[in-house]
Amino acid sequence: MPSIDDLTVGDVVAEAAFGLTRDSLVRYAGASGDFNPIHYRDDVATSVGLPGVLAHGMLTMGLAVQPVVDWIGDPARVTDYQVRFTRPVLVDPTDGASVGVVAKVGQLDSDAGTARIDLTVTFNGETVLGKAQVRVALDHA
């Protein structure tokens, strides 16, 4: 478990890359109950003007916090998590999509024992989430 006393604003605390395939989208659809066909049918996606099948925004949000969970060691230490969906993640039927996550300390509140971790989430060199912030509860050394 990282201690809040060892952190400085700007520290990179976690980095990861996630490979998404069409299988990942089907799996998320089943697990979440979000069966919007734009997440698994090219014909439906293109009929509503999209360039192709997109990942669920909630899948991107869900995986982007995982490097932070692994860093703090317990998902229960995430007390608040917010994002803005700014760009879609297009998932190619053969090549899939790679989503990168960098987690940095954005703010520290030593008295409350909490840190705000800011996520930079990218696909194809562009950020796909805005204002992606995770509030975590940490212990002192």
């Binding site: 998320y28 089943g30 909630m58 916090v65 995982q66 317990d74 998902p75 995430v78 969906f85």
Partner: protein
């Protein structure tokens, strides 16, 4: 068709109680690439002080979806589902969701705005446990695209 401004402030009846299953937590965890033993292994979760496996931070969306279904089913909502885009999402937890929880989700529409021809609806879902104690609040900002 545009979003009915009278939706603002409307409270909905609670959705039917949702029992959080252990296998559902594991299934959802796999789907969001959550590999922490605390999401999957009961012994690891108990060793960390939890009653059972802990759901990932975005699991509350499963409960919120049921309440958003109520909103879209409102005959006077003026919301065309095919034009809805997810704008923002936030989860605030008083305590984590764990397998075995019997949760109740209740929706309120906290804000309806029009911006550049688009409708902006803020839907807030409050999740409580079987004792009526707050567990989490999920807030979705939905953008309803206007006619092109």
């Amino acid at each position: 068709m545009s979003v009915n401004p009278e939706l603002q402030g409307r409270a909905f009846p609670p959705a039917p109680p949702y029992l959080v299953g252990r296998e559902k937590v594991r299934e959802f965890s796999r789907a969001v690439f959550a590999t922490s033993p605390i999401n999957h292994d009961v012994d690891a979760a108990r060793a960390a002080g939890h009653a059972d496996v802990v759901a990932p931070p975005t699991f509350a969306i499963v409960l919120q979806e049921t309440t958003l279904g109520q909103l879209l089913a409102e005959p006077d909502s003026g919301i065309d589902f095919t034009r809805v885009v997810h704008g923002d999402q936030r989860f605030s937890y008083s305590r984590p969701i764990v397998a075995g929880d019997l949760l109740t989700a209740q929706l309120a529409v906290t804000s309806v705005k029009t911006l550049g021809g688009h409708g902006l609806v803020t839907a807030e879902t409050t999740i409580t446990d079987s004792d009526g104690v707050h567990v989490a609040t999920a807030v979705s900002a939905l953008v309803v695209r206007g006619d092109e």
